[in-house]
Assembly symmetry: C2
Homo-oligomer: 224 residues x 2
Amino acid sequence: MPSPSVEDYIKAIYKAHADNGSVATQELAERLHVSAPAVSKMMRKLSVLKLISHAPYQGVELTRAGEKLALEIIRHHRLIELYLVQAMGFSWDSVHEEAERLEHHISEEFEDKIDELLGHPTACPHGDPIPTRAGTIAPITDRPLALERSPARLMVKRVSDEDAELLRHFQALGVTPGTAIELVTQEPFEGPLVLKVGGKRVRLTPQAAKKVFVDAITTSEEDK
Amino acid sequence: MPSPSVEDYIKAIYKAHADNGSVATQELAERLHVSAPAVSKMMRKLSVLKLISHAPYQGVELTRAGEKLALEIIRHHRLIELYLVQAMGFSWDSVHEEAERLEHHISEEFEDKIDELLGHPTACPHGDPIPTRAGTIAPITDRPLALERSPARLMVKRVSDEDAELLRHFQALGVTPGTAIELVTQEPFEGPLVLKVGGKRVRLTPQAAKKVFVDAITTSEEDK
DNA sequence: CAGCACGCTTGACTTCGGTTAACTTAGCTC
DNA sequence: GAGCTAAGTTAACCGAAGTCAAGCGTGCTG
């Protein structure tokens, strides 16, 4: 059974890969709040464990075993987040940290139980897909709202879960997963985006809009 | 914030004290499945942390700070156990291990939330009292069933939670906290105790009867 | 294409929690 | 009260995961 530390590294590699495509030593160091040498050393260890493939000075890549482990931890994380929100009444801005700790310490039975109690959900409170037990995950099709350039009707799919402050802001604006919004315009000189959310006009800085992920509205969602 | 390891030692000291009155190095080593030297070293550390007072070769005693820490961990443990059973539908013989891990990793907010969701309970599924947040605990008044010598009507208060097999046995017999039982007799030569539980006669080995804790029946419980 | 800067890795050391082996100490037995 | 035994402690060491300082490698820049 891998240590929490190993799990954190594997998860960070998975996320860096998903976010950037690349996985640099330094980036992992920043994500994990450790020094670069700590990362280098751990990479060797993970190589030996066959969780990554790693040619020194080149990048790092998860093996299938590493990916499965990453997805299992992420599954734990997202199921826990959703359970905390839906079953226990926590607010969506307060569950990330708790899940971050608990994800390393729950049993398979616990995982299965909350999955069952939640009715086999497919997304966490922030809209991220929940991996299956088998180690697969729905592909991401959404794009950052910040990249949308022309007015359009859009569906909020996900928001970044790591900044509680920002999550409260999104909630106050009504920008939450499953909400249909309309991008009206962007104010000049990299100014805020102007949106229509539930009939109200709201403004969102480009910074914040990077953390909101949207998709074109599908016909089945038209009734919103 | 103390490490899980420190918490485990403090909890073991508390329990050894409660069970035996004394706290020997060797006993802690057995309870924690570590070597005696590991205990010795940790005792020095806990002394420095002012969680215990420890004169070498003499026993060890929790300070008030140590006791508070022990009670906080035990509170976590018992609240988690109860939540797993009552809110999530786990069986009472399967929750000890899960609680053993999770007790070290939940936040104060989580602790408060389950306390609230459970309606500020006073006992875990095995009948052990739940310490308060302030670090107090209801005194134990029950005695091991194995020590009862004469026929009597008794109330099951607690059962030991550490052996899942035994818990299933107790459940099958109907010997659970809150159940009134009647001690009929003990068969000769340290034979099993004969009980009446819910109208049925059942037999319990002295070994098992050591793990059941009973009290005289109070008038308010007469209606059972 | 030489040189250099930056990023990555190696090396030497720390802390934490554990081990085994060797040695004290307390308390019991004669 | 001397001596032994069992329990407790100290010493030397290990592995995990981290640190800082120093040394490589890659690839961009002039």
